[in-house]
């Protein structure tokens, strides 16, 4: 139909609609301008209009299955005693379907290898391992594996079907409330505790693999590349990186060995994402200083030795944080902690203050001995002051990090304190009668320092960190 013909038809139809049914035909004949074809067409359209009833008036109704599984190639497909309802998702390692187990009448998640890889012996073995690995873990935060099925040569894992959405969906909507983020992270940590205790490393933790049910329960799924402890179970060739780069720990990225701490790293990335709404490596992400980000930060240390060493440790830190939410924004420092901080600051001042008398002592003693004594005090002061100020700062701004920071600093601090005290006493003795005041000061401070380090500091430390060495 030509455009102008259509326009005439339309005008005539719309005009005729305005007329009463009795005068319509006459009106059409008058306005069709002798074009009989056009008049017939309009009449036919009007008849269609009059008999159309509710045609198209009610918006289309849909079966949610049609929309949810819009990309499936056909309607429901039977596989053994399972009826596939729709595809939940797919990745390089497999396709996950929502299916119904017709024997037991329940919904299951059915995971299979992509058809192209279905005959790959290595991948089939990996899927079997995944089933066994996940089946080993009995925990409410890990999706339960029901069965490993081989139907018509295809391998399937049937597992608990989790109703809900992924953590990715939630993060995509912006930062989570801090308490909620911590509680989700704690649930993931619990799942990891169970998995790690069973000797299983997830190795591909990411928000897509964390499901949140409508009842807010957390389920970790997809132990797809999980690795069971032991050498013979490795399926990836050495040096081959497996996982999702954005959540892979540095050691995993270079194809090194993954262990519990690899999963802890991924948990840290997810916690940061929950708190900020963005991946920690995204440009411009500077999480506000808080204890919660401190936990995430420690999980994400490049050196695995500097992370929490087990999921249980992470869980403890998260639970402590959840119990004391007020710590998050305004770290309420207990008075015992205040004393400990004061102690660190005071010792730093003494360290620095003793450099001047020791300089005088150096001149009096003279020669190599004088220099050696001064250098010893200087070195002790530099190390001692740096570490103490670092601890003081950490206590103020990253309280969650403190336990760990103290652990690292303790050895060095002990050494510098001992050196400091010893060097002062020696300096005092060497100066002797030449400058009695300097000598007395050096010896007095040296003895005071020794007793302070031996007695007072352990006391303030005990008071400040009573009960929980790890915050």
């Amino acid at each position: 139909m030509k455009r102008d013909q259509w326009e005439r038809l339309k005008t005539l139809f719309m005009g005729a609609l305005e007329q009463s049914p009795e005068t319509r035909q006459m009106w059409i004949n008058q306005h069709a301008g002798g074009d009989e074809m056009l008049a017939r067409e309009v009449t036919a359209l009007l008849r269609a209009h009059d008999t159309a009833g509710r045609f198209l008036e009610t918006p289309v109704t849909v079966d949610p299955a049609d929309v949810a599984g819009a990309e499936d190639n056909a309607g429901a497909v039977r596989i053994g005693s399972y009826e596939i309802e729709y595809e939940i998702g797919r990745g390089g390692m497999g396709i996950v379907y929502c299916a119904r187990d017709l024997r037991l009448g329940r919904r299951v998640a059915l995971k299979a290898l992509p058809p192209v890889h279905d005959s790959d012996a290595g991948l089939r073995e990996r899927l079997r391992r995944e089933a066994r690995a996940a089946a080993t873990i009995a925990h409410h935060a890990v999706a339960t594996v029901y069965a490993l099925e081989e139907i018509d040569g295809r391998l399937f894992i049937a597992s608990e079907f989790v109703e809900g959405h992924t953590l990715r969906n939630e993060i995509d909507r912006g930062p989570l409330d801090t308490q909620r983020a911590l509680s989700i992270a704690a649930d993931i940590a619990r799942a990891l505790c169970a998995a790690h205790d069973a000797g299983i490393i997830h190795r591909d933790l990411k928000p897509e693999n964390v499901l949140i049910t409508s009842g807010s329960a957390v389920k970790v799924v997809d132990f797809g590349i999980a690795q069971v402890d032991g050498i013979n179970t490795r399926l990836t060739r050495p040096g081959e990186a497996v996982g999702t780069p954005a959540y892979m720990a540095p050691e995993q990225l270079v194809g090194g060995n993954a262990d519990e701490r690899t999963d802890i790293y991924a948990l840290g990335v997810m916690l940061t994402e929950m708190l900020t709404g963005q991946h920690p490596l995204a440009a411009g992400v500077r999480p506000a200083l808080s204890s919660a980000t401190g936990i995430a930060w420690r999980c994400m240390q490049v050196d695995a030795k500097e992370r929490y060493q087990s999921a249980h440790e992470v869980l403890e830190a998260l639970e402590a944080q959840l119990r004391n939410p007020q710590r998050i924004d305004t770290p309420a420092i207990a008075s015992s902690r205040w004393w400990w901080e004061f102690h660190q600051a005071a010792v730093s001042v003494v360290y620095a203050g003793m450099l001047w008398p020791t300089w005088i002592a150096r001149d009096v003693i003279g020669g190599r001995q004088g220099n050696a004594v001064f250098v010893a005090v200087l070195a002790a002061a530099i190390v001692g002051v740096t570490l103490r100020l670092h601890l003081w700062f950490t206590s103020r701004f990253y309280p969650a990090e403190l336990g760990w920071a103290r652990g690292r600093a303790t050895g060095w601090m002990l050494a510098s304190d001992a050196l400091f005290a010893a060097a002062l006493v020696i300096a005092g003795a060497l100066v002797g009668d030449a400058r009695p005041a300097v000598s007395a000061l050096e010896i007095a401070v040296g003895i005071a320092a020794a007793s302070a380090f031996a007695l007072i500091e352990p006391a303030t430390t005990r008071a400040a960190f009573r009960g929980s060495d790890r915050l």
């Binding site: 198209l56 009610t58 109704t61 949610p64 929309v67 819009a70 729709y86």
Partner: protein
Amino acid sequence: MGSTTPDPVSLMPLVYDELRRIAAGYMRRERPGQTLQATALVNEAFVRLAAEKRRPFANRTHFVAIAALSMRQILVQRARARRAAKRGGEPKRVTLDDALMLSATPNVDILALDEALTRLATFDPELAHIVELRYFGGLTIEETAEAVGSSPATVKRQWAMARAWLKRAIECRSDDGADAQP
């Protein structure tokens, strides 16, 4: 809307995904085979996407226009797949759900409608668009008028015309068809 309105095609995957997600949610809550109005699905998708930090679409009608297009594509794709499955002669594939669907829904034949609508769009895209918004997006006459930027009275007339033409086109398809060919 203005020039900053993103191209609908680029937003399709986003809307499509959201519709799928919501539909999957419904499936988990409801008994299998339960149907719902597309309007409900589209509205829920709108509410969810509108809550996002960076709203990717200009306003509700802009969103519905995209959602309606998605919905049409989804349903057509599905209907085609179903037809192919039946022709493929695999008796296994026709399930109880399929049987229920056929009897329970008052929907018109989606494939026939899609075909007719595609034909209509070749000579009157505006009318085809209105049908899409009304039927697949569930917009009222007033909302449709807002979406296309004209008056409700005009849209009402256009809707009547489109409905009559489509009805004829679909009915004639089964017998001769030549009659409805414009």
